[in-house]
Structure formats: C-alpha cells, structure tokens
Subunit: 121 residues, 2 copies
C-alpha cells in the first residue's frame, strides 16, 4: 500500500497496546491515523478487510464524508499512531497536492480489491 | 452522488449514441469523464455497478493508479461527456483543493456501497 512518509513527523501521537481497540464500527469519527510503528487490523462485520503497517493510513473516510466508522480497528501489535484531524487534513490537501493523490491511490486500491471480492462471491 | 458543476465548461467534449460503448473493462486508460448530458452505465463482469448522471464523474481511477479500466462504460441514453486527461486532472487538484475532496467523496461513496455488497454476500 502507498507509503505516507511525509506524515512521519506528525505531532499528535498516541500509543496502543497489542489487542487494544482503536475505534469500533459505527463510532462517530473525527480523525484519520497514520501508523508510525506497528500493525493495525481492520474488520468489518467481524471479517478482516485490511492490515495497515508503518507509514500507511486508515480511517481517512471519516474525514472525507463525515460518516461513522465503516470498520473496527485494533492493534495487532503494540502501535504508535499519529492522529490527523479535519483541519490538518484540509491543510495537507491544500499544501501538498501529492498527499491528495496518494490518499486517492489508497482508496483506488481498496476499491479494486473490494470489486474483485464482491463480484467473485 | 457528488455533483461536479465546476467541470461543466470543460472543452474536450465527445458525444456518444445510446447503446455505444465508451470504454471496456481492461482497456488501457488515460482520461476520466464528466457527464455533461445523459446517463452512463458501468458494468463489471456483466453486473451493473453504477449509473452516472449529469455533473457526475467516472473513470477517475485510471488517473489515480494508471491501471486498466475496472469496468465497462456504455451510454444508457445519448450522452455528451467531457474528457479530462492526467495533466488537466493534476492541474484541477492543485488549483482546486475542493475538487480533490470531491473526487475522494465519490470514491468513499463507492467504497461504502461495495463494502456493504461484498460483506452481505
């Protein structure tokens, strides 16, 4: 998956222990996360839909369409995450057009995988 | 779906007759389209996955990850489309951060729908 090394120095960081829930499906949402260390698992209706590693992002959909979380995220290992709120997200898009293209790349990747999955079922 | 009225005055337009194929799954791809008039149907493996109307976009994934078309697009009615190539797409992202957010919104919408579809099967 796309690497967001430009986000390595984000300051609003948070640590999670292995097994801890970061957010749950249907939770209200106001930040996306970038993984600084560790691995995060995303589950939708109990099914693992994605694993997210160092320099990768998750939870970005909350900032795009202001909907509740579409998946549950939990720490597969001890993790350090940086949280990016709406204001910071908009700043990154305005100041770094490449950031916007990279976020779109992550979404395109997920869309292609899900299209495969849903049409093969 | 999100309306891209900011693209109404794009100049590189093309007309398609009802029933005509605009592009086919697996075709190499270098433009996205905005629908100026008419309705376009998108099919993946023979299954209709989306209908796109006036001021809505399709084919944007080609510009994001340079992959072949993930769906077949055909004109459900007579259509006028505007084609937006890579260079124009990047210009729009740089000059109009809101355009980037809107494209992400379209992708988020498709992701949520596909997640529902694939997990309910």
């Amino acid at each position: 998956m796309t690497k967001f090394s430009m986000l390595r120095r984000e300051e609003n960081t948070k640590k999670f222990k292995r097994g801890e829930t970061i957010f749950a499906e249907e939770d209200p949402a106001d930040v996306m996360y970038v993984v600084l260390t560790g691995v995060v698992d995303l589950k939708s209706k109990g099914i693992s839909v994605n694993q997210v590693s160092e320099d990768e992002i998750f939870g970005e959909m909350a900032l795009i369409d202001n909907s509740p979380r579409s998946a549950t995220a939990f720490a597969l290992t001890d993790c350090t995450l940086a949280a990016i709120d709406q204001k910071r997200f908009e700043f990154l898009i305005q100041q770094t057009p490449n950031f916007a293209v990279q976020v779109m790349g992550v979404m395109a990747d997920r869309l292609r995988k899900l299209t495969e999955l849903s049409l093969n079922n």
